[in-house]
Symmetry: C2
Subunit: 116 residues, 2 copies
DNA sequence: TATTGACTTAAAGTCAACTCTAAGTTATAT
DNA sequence: ATATAACTTAGAGTTGACTTTAAGTCAATA
């Protein structure tokens, strides 16, 4: 799959895809004889994972950390699990903050701006 | 209330409080004869609101927009309500994204890293 | 009176995460 | 054969949201 197709499929720009590769979140992606990227199914799975986690606010740094551990093999499984649990906790707290703000907006809209 | 007390109460740095004031999210805060800030109850309410919304990811720009409308008085109530509804929708979508990522982390932790 | 520490300002610096630019190569259509 | 469009790279630039710096004022204490 070409970079264009991937960027359309996942709604990420070519630049972002190359940037993710440069910082080591994906790939290195295989290239054909003229140097053009050809993404594999595994690349796509990774992109989808990264996109999901990024959209939830996980930093590139922490994703990179996880992916580097992954590349080191089985011996890092425990450490990876700890990392995921840590991030899950962070996410939970962030969701709670957002729920709070959401309810506050609800209240403002329904009570303060009721008849507007 | 001094900037130090406010910064401790809301866990925001002095710098952040002055920055919020500079960009127009709060104040202008009243100052005593020697130029030192003295926050009122209304300032504190505003700070608390801004903190809540910022922690949920609303941009400084959009908060500024809301606050500027507020300062224009009653005639902007409808517009303010629209703005809040828009931001509520954005927030809802973001919460959904985060829930998705949260569940994915749950799954990974419980299934993939079950015995680790 | 001198020093300490909290405050003040404007402006420059930082950081994460892209995003754009410049200069170049390659594939396809006319 | 030439124009067009899509790709490539390294590196510079942008944006949002602070954060730090430099230079100074002021109040309280030794």
């Amino acid at each position: 799959m070409t970079i264009k197709e991937v960027s359309e499929k996942y709604d990420l720009t070519n630049d972002t895809l190359r940037y993710y590769e440069k910082v080591g979140l994906i790939g290195p992606v295989k290239k054909n004889k003229s140097g053009i990227r050809d993404y594999t199914e595994d690349d796509l799975k990774r992109i989808e994972f990264v996109k999901c986690m990024r959209s939830a606010g996980l930093s590139i740094e922490v994703l990179k950390e996880y992916i580097d551990l992954f590349a080191e093999g089985k011996k890092t499984e425990k450490e990876r699990k700890e990392l995921l649990k840590r991030e899950r906790e962070n996410l939970k707290k962030k969701i709670e903050k957002m729920q709070e703000a959401y309810e506050r907006l609800n209240y403002k809209i329904d009570v303060f701006y009721k008849d507007k």
